[in-house]
């Protein structure tokens, strides 16, 4: 923890407010993320956790506040948005692989078209990442021929191909069959150890305990409590977090 105080903020979110129509989805969010930090965001459904991280790469527009990602302030400017998106990768709950492309083509798409790499370079790198997530033998198959766990690992490899500085995980294991969750978490643990900045929206408290530098609890569009993993689980301060923990941990422990 001490050493990380020296590192600079890679994401700075201040006074962020977002509405869906009349619905106030995010209320005065302030949050900084340092380079290399692993942040876990949790909270009941509808609490705005996904919305928050989707604001970071501008998949959601927000009405008030500032987000600065690696020195670039998010505005409507398409150029800036693309620049940020090339540095921020996202892994989705439903994988969102491109079903009309083979696995390896899914991986090489962004390097070729966004980062102007040659086909050969991109392919070589793609195969390397597929090996890292342990599915190199599926490279020429199509996404729908793979299991959910495999697809999510491909999705992670796809987002790694553009050498992002930040990775956003939007409930990466929620759509998976139980026996496939650990294979995805294993990959995420490996990544976390590698020193990349990560914000994970997840309900996998085991992962949060083991890997997170900080855990953020959200409810009704606001950050209710944030703490390091040990105190987060041992000494929850707010009633809402206590209730939430009692609900999700009853079956785990």
């Amino acid at each position: 923890m001490e050493t990380e105080n020296n590192k600079s903020n890679i994401i700075e979110i201040s006074e962020l407010n977002k509405w869906y129509g009349d619905f106030h989805a995010l209320k005065n969010i302030n949050m900084n993320v340092k380079e290399g930090e692993i942040i876990v965001v949790c909270g009941p459904s509808g609490s705005g956790k996904s919305t928050l991280i989707r604001c970071v790469n501008f998949l959601e527009k927000f009405q008030e506040g500032n987000i600065v990602v690696s020195g670039i302030e998010l505005t409507d400017d398409a150029q800036k948005i693309r620049k940020i998106r090339s540095e921020v990768a996202m892994v989705f709950q439903h994988f969102n692989l491109f079903p009309h492309l083979t696995i390896v083509d899914n991986l090489t798409l962004a390097p070729i078209w966004v980062h102007n790499e040659t086909k050969e370079e991109a392919r070589e790198k793609a195969l390397k990442f597929l090996e890292r997530v342990d599915i190199s033998e599926q490279a020429e198959k199509y996404p729908n021929q793979l299991s959910g766990g495999q697809q999510q690992r491909v999705a992670i490899a796809r987002s790694l191909c553009t050498s992002p500085k930040i990775m956003l995980f939007d409930e990466p294991t929620s759509a998976l069959d139980p026996e496939m969750i650990s294979e995805v978490l294993d990959v995420m643990v490996e990544l976390a150890k590698g020193g990349i900045t990560m914000i994970c929206v997840t309900h996998e408290m085991g992962f949060a305990k083991k890997m997170a530098n900080r855990i953020i609890f959200m409810d009704e569009g606001q950050i209710v409590e944030e703490n390091d993993p040990i105190n987060f689980f041992k000494n929850p301060e707010s009633n809402r977090l206590q209730l939430f923990l009692s609900q999700i941990l009853t079956h785990d422990e």
Partner: protein, 382 residues
């Protein structure tokens, strides 16, 4: 507690297969189904034999001596004429006599090799596209063919440029004209349709409004009206006035008409693409154009293949309407040739012939679409 061994798989029971079972499950599964089967068989029995009799068995095939690819084939001593052809069955010598008109219209006989070459090139195009499927530079080959083919075809058909004698478009007719109108209509309108479909889903209000207005206006108007407008109203706005080629006017009208239909078909495909695909494309940093060209359209068009081809088939049939603005397509040729005083009263043969030609072309299109669908299906590949 019981522990069961994993069981090996086995073949289905023998009474699940065989011809009798097929008959029972498909044709006689219930009383209603059985009755329907018998009724259908009866309908076939009363319709097929007379038709066969009219078209083949009692029909007149006395073509005289025919030269097919250098071989002299003798069907009869002399070619039958209208009198000795008989009225109770088809008189195919009439079609043979008028075949040139059906295929080329009033295209000069000594230049008929030019449409023939275009037909040949078209077939060649399909063969080449199929052959280069696994070639490294196939995209470049296909793209250059797509650019070259219309230019070469135009020069061949219309002539000019000091290369070939000019054949004015009012001399084009028959199947040639039908194919030109249909293929130009489909090929030109398709990209316009895709752009309109994207426009209608655009976040930019003005573009959305324009696309929606265009599509809804065109779709609310019959093709005949549009052809009339293109033929008679459009020249009023243009300086060249009536010198403006009649075929070109019809083509513009048809292309705009078809573009609106393609736009709606493609929009249907676009709507079927999950939001996650857009988000994933955005998240990896693709631009609007890249996102649509690489991710969204390939999937949307693939789903739309049956409807795109269906719409194209409709257009192909609708091209017969051009006869009302004085273009002599294949169907117009039936009327035209039946005016021949030596061959009065032979419209039926003409219509049957045109029907058969249309059927062969359209059925091939439909089959081709089925093939494309299977080839592009990566969703359920195993």
């Amino acid at each position: 507690m019981a522990v069961n061994e994993l069981q090996s798989t086995r073949k289905p029971p023998i009474f699940q297969i065989g011809a009798i079972l097929w008959l029972r499950t498909n044709l006689f599964s219930s009383w209603v189904n059985g009755l329907l089967t018998l009724a259908s068989l009866y309908l076939l029995y009363i319709s097929i034999p007379p038709l066969l009799d009219w078209m083949v068995l009692s029909a007149n095939f006395n073509f005289g001596t025919v030269n097919i690819l250098g071989f002299e084939i003798k069907f009869s001593e002399v070619m039958a004429d209208n009198q000795n052809c008989g009225r109770e069955a088809a008189c195919w010598p009439y079609i043979y006599e008028k075949l040139y008109m059906y295929i080329y219209g009033f295209y000069p006989r000594e230049e008929s090799w030019r449409p023939d070459t275009v037909y040949g090139l078209t077939a060649l195009l399909f063969v080449i596209v199929r052959l280069v499927r696994n070639y490294k530079y196939k995209n470049r080959v296909i793209l250059s063919l797509i650019v070259a083919y219309p230019i070469v075809s135009y020069i061949l058909l219309a002539g000019g440029f000091g290369l070939l004698p000019v054949v004015e478009t009012h001399r084009w007719g028959g199947l040639l004209l039908t194919l030109v109108i249909a293929s130009v209509g489909i090929i030109v309108s398709f990209p316009i349709g895709v752009v309109l479909a994207l426009g209608r889903r655009s976040d930019l209000r003005v573009i959305k409004l324009f696309s929606t207005l265009f599509i809804e206006f065109i779709r609310a108007v019959p093709l005949i009206t549009i052809l009339f407008m293109a033929s008679f109203v459009l020249p009023l706005f243009l300086e060249s006035g009536n010198n403006f080629d009649k075929l070109l006017r019809a083509l513009i009208g048809i292309a705009l008409f078809q573009a609106a239909y393609f736009a709606e078909v493609v929009r249907g495909g676009l709507q079927a693409i999950p939001k996650g695909q857009y988000e994933a494309a955005d998240a990896i940093g693709l631009s609007y154009l890249q996102k649509n060209a690489l991710i969204i359209l390939p999937q949307a068009l693939k789903i739309s293949i049956p409807n795109i081809v269906g719409s194209s088939i409709s257009l192909f049939k609708d091209t017969t309407l051009v006869l009302i603005i004085g273009l002599m397509d294949m169907l117009a040729m039936v009327n035209m040739t039946s005016q021949d005083p030596y061959w009065l009263g032979r419209e039926t043969e003409g219509y049957v012939f045109v029907t058969m030609v249309m059927w062969v072309i359209l059925y091939s299109m439909s089959r081709y679409s089925r093939k494309l669908e299977i080839r592009f299906n990566t969703e359920n590949k195993n």
